[in-house]
């Protein structure tokens, strides 16, 4: 696969006549690189956001996102459609990010140690982000890694508690506790940003 081929695959994927995700998945199982590029374009921001919530660093997040997609391509034949594709993809992304985190902090022996606060990403990471995104990312940086991931999956990806359990491997009651705790903490941290939301809610 040379550079021209890669560029070609991306160009073709942008005009690929795929209309359904199932169709793309079936094609990827047969090794169709254009269909895989189409899937990547569809999910790259979501995957990047999930791994960034765990790693809180742009460089590590990009590497983990790439690793996730490489694993997805290799393991696609194992995907039988038992769960939603996005749930399967996010579980790979989450495990990959946790594995990167373990490499970065080898002294941490269990997930509880990894769940402690890690400083939020560098300013450069958020240079082009909106004020709202910056404030949210900063507030999520104040939460433990697992809590920030759970709350992101719940509010941003709009996943159910059951789906979050499948992705993270955290028990359902634990997920609910994390959601409750994170909600309370975010309300304190995002008071100013939430005023706008409350104004919108009042109008509703």
């Amino acid at each position: 696969m040379d550079t021209n081929f890669v560029t070609g695959a991306i160009l073709v994927a942008s005009h690929h006549p795929i209309v359904k995700e199932d169709q793309a998945i079936a094609l990827v199982k047969q090794g169709d690189i254009q269909a895989f590029t189409w899937l990547m374009s569809r999910y790259k921001h979501m995957v990047y956001t999930v791994v960034h919530r765990v790693l809180r660093n742009a460089l590590d997040a990009e590497e983990a996102t790439q690793d996730t997609f490489v694993k997805v391509f290799e393991k696609m034949v194992d995907y039988q459609g038992g769960s939603k594709f996005s749930t399967w993809l996010f579980s790979i992304a989450y495990r990959t990010a946790i594995s990167h985190l373990r490499k970065r902090r080898p002294e941490a022996t269990d997930l509880e140690d990894l769940s402690t606060r890690i400083p939020a990403s560098e300013e450069n990471d958020l240079a082009i982000a909106t004020d709202r995104t910056k404030a949210l990312t900063k507030a999520l940086g104040e939460l433990p890694v697992e809590d920030a991931t759970v709350v992101s999956l719940y509010y941003l990806e709009e996943l159910s508690v059951e789906e979050i359990v499948t992705i993270t491997g955290i028990g359902a009651s634990n997920v609910k506790v994390k959601l409750y705790r994170s909600r309370k903490r975010l309300l304190e941290l995002l008071k100013d940003q939430l005023k706008d939301e409350l104004w919108t809610l009042t109008l509703d």
Partner: protein
């Protein structure tokens, strides 16, 4: 905690959901797809077959093909060589199996095929 009193459980939930939705996803770096494709290009090919090389019916057919010479060989054993307790089927079968070249060769071929099949499948799965 100085939080707006309108933020009860449901209100807080809706407000946070709204904020997350408006903030949206973080943007993945430009050109990431190309970098992933470049990495895939240098990976060793590990294409796994969607199904076994020989379908199940082929193995059943082989077993059936082996069963025919077994029956034939059983029928050709002379009564003189049979043990007195001819009602013991197991003895008849073992005697015929041991004496029949057909069965011996059939078993040998089947074993060779199974070994070949397993070796090819392992080779393909490991990307060789």
């Amino acid at each position: 905690m100085d939080v707006d009193p309108r933020l009860n459980e449901e209100g807080a939930d809706r407000a946070l959901r709204g904020l997350f939705q408006k903030a949206g996803h973080l943007s993945a770096p430009e050109g990431m797809e190309a970098r992933v494709l470049n990495r895939l290009a240098v990976l060793p090919k590990a294409v796994r077959p969607a199904s076994a090389l020989l379908p199940k019916w082929a193995w059943y057919a082989l077993l059936f093909a082996l069963f025919i010479p077994l029956c034939v060989s059983m029928g050709t054993i002379s009564d003189a060589t049979e043990p007195q307790l001819s009602s013991i089927l197991l003895d008849r079968m073992s005697a015929s199996t041991l004496h029949s070249k057909w069965v011996f060769m059939g078993t040998l071929c089947l074993t060779a095929l199974v070994t070949l099949h397993a070796a090819m499948l392992r080779g393909i799965r490991s990307g060789r």
